[in-house]
Symmetry: C2
Subunit: 215 residues, 2 copies
């Protein structure tokens, strides 16, 4: 059955790969599943047809036959559960890899999104300069803990898994901030993720949408 995902018709990041469809593209590339992409405008995301598929009016979504899913974590998990390559076979190792998917989304990403919100949506507010150190400290708390856990390992728990895919994707949001550079092992971890051929294919595919070649 054909897999169809949705993506922004024009990503707010201009093709830096930070829109969440990149995470789903990466997962599909890791497991070798072809997919189609339906581009959605900001206006269309808030209209009934898209809201029927995604109640919060966002991308990505995932359609395969009569299954429709939303929520990046759920989609990546679904792909990992149904195709080999993103979750270990051993039951305990599998449960721990799933734990890292949740940890990336529920524990590490929220303070990073708060930082994005403070910079982008509250960047012009009178309180933002004074408040920023608090926001940055919350991100550093999480990065410090993650850095301590990762140590000098290549990946969070044995072989590369969907948990690493999600954690690297979350940390990539910090590239422009310079914060990652404070944690050399996390910078190297993110670089290992970006170096994977599947990531490169996913990145290039989203870039092709967001920066059409001149001509």
């Amino acid at each position: 059955m054909t897999i169809t995902i949705t993506a922004f018709d024009r990503s707010p990041d201009g093709g830096k790969g930070l829109a969440r469809d990149t995470r789903v593209r990466w997962a599909l590339e890791e497991v070798g599943q072809p997919y189609e992409v339906r581009l959605v405008s900001f206006g269309a995301m808030k209209e009934p047809a898209h809201l029927a598929l995604h109640p919060f009016g966002q991308i990505p979504t995932y359609e395969e036959g009569d299954l429709g899913l939303f929520e990046t974590g759920a989609i990546v998990f679904h792909i990992a559960e149904h195709h080999a390559g993103l979750l270990p076979d051993d039951a305990n190792a599998r449960a721990r890899a799933i734990t890292w998917i949740f940890a990336a989304l529920s524990t590490v990403e929220p303070p990073i999104l708060e930082l994005m919100t403070a910079r982008i949506f509250e960047g012009d507010k009178p309180w933002t300069a004074q408040r920023m150190p608090l926001v940055l400290d919350r991100v550093r708390d999480r990065l410090g803990q993650l850095s301590a856990r990762l140590g000098d390992a290549d990946w969070l728990d044995g072989a590369f898994s969907a948990g690493d895919l999600m954690m690297v994707s979350v940390l990539l949001r910090l590239r422009a901030s310079g914060l990652l550079d404070e944690y050399p092992n996390l910078s190297a971890y993110v670089a290992r993720g970006e170096a994977r051929p599947a990531y490169k294919r996913a990145f290039d595919a989203q870039l092709a949408v967001n920066k059409p070649p001149a001509g």
Copy 2:
């Protein structure tokens, strides 16, 4: 094998059931699995023994034989995957229920946690009064979308699932704010969750720790 979870030795909410161990207790009660609880102090949560189990120094954790997990979403999912009662049998319905676990944690809870942060950790800051309407609007955006999706259904997608367990748990954080009252169908949804015998048992169990009987 014995299941052991961790919980605060004294919950910051004084027993209102908002600490995340309540979510895990609820899941275990729904599937009828007995469990033991190891209480952890705030100090001990940041020490090596606990950090080995939970790299971010929080509760709950989950131990069963040689498996150790952290991250509430992952633990609830693990319980739901290994015991009947929290995920539908039909493959597509199961994938959708998992989607709601992620939606609760990744899309609905973050703005609610931002509200808690603004009230509790930034409550004494000079910017908080001026900033609060923005924070509240972000919560209302999500509640409005969730309310529209739920409509007059009892649960988010067919029968009660782990997705509802997590969404009700997330929404319960808003009880004191009065925001839930703006969405009668969400208030009723939360009340249906709280009325479940398994929830009541979980709530009472955490209350017993946090408010020891006089005498």
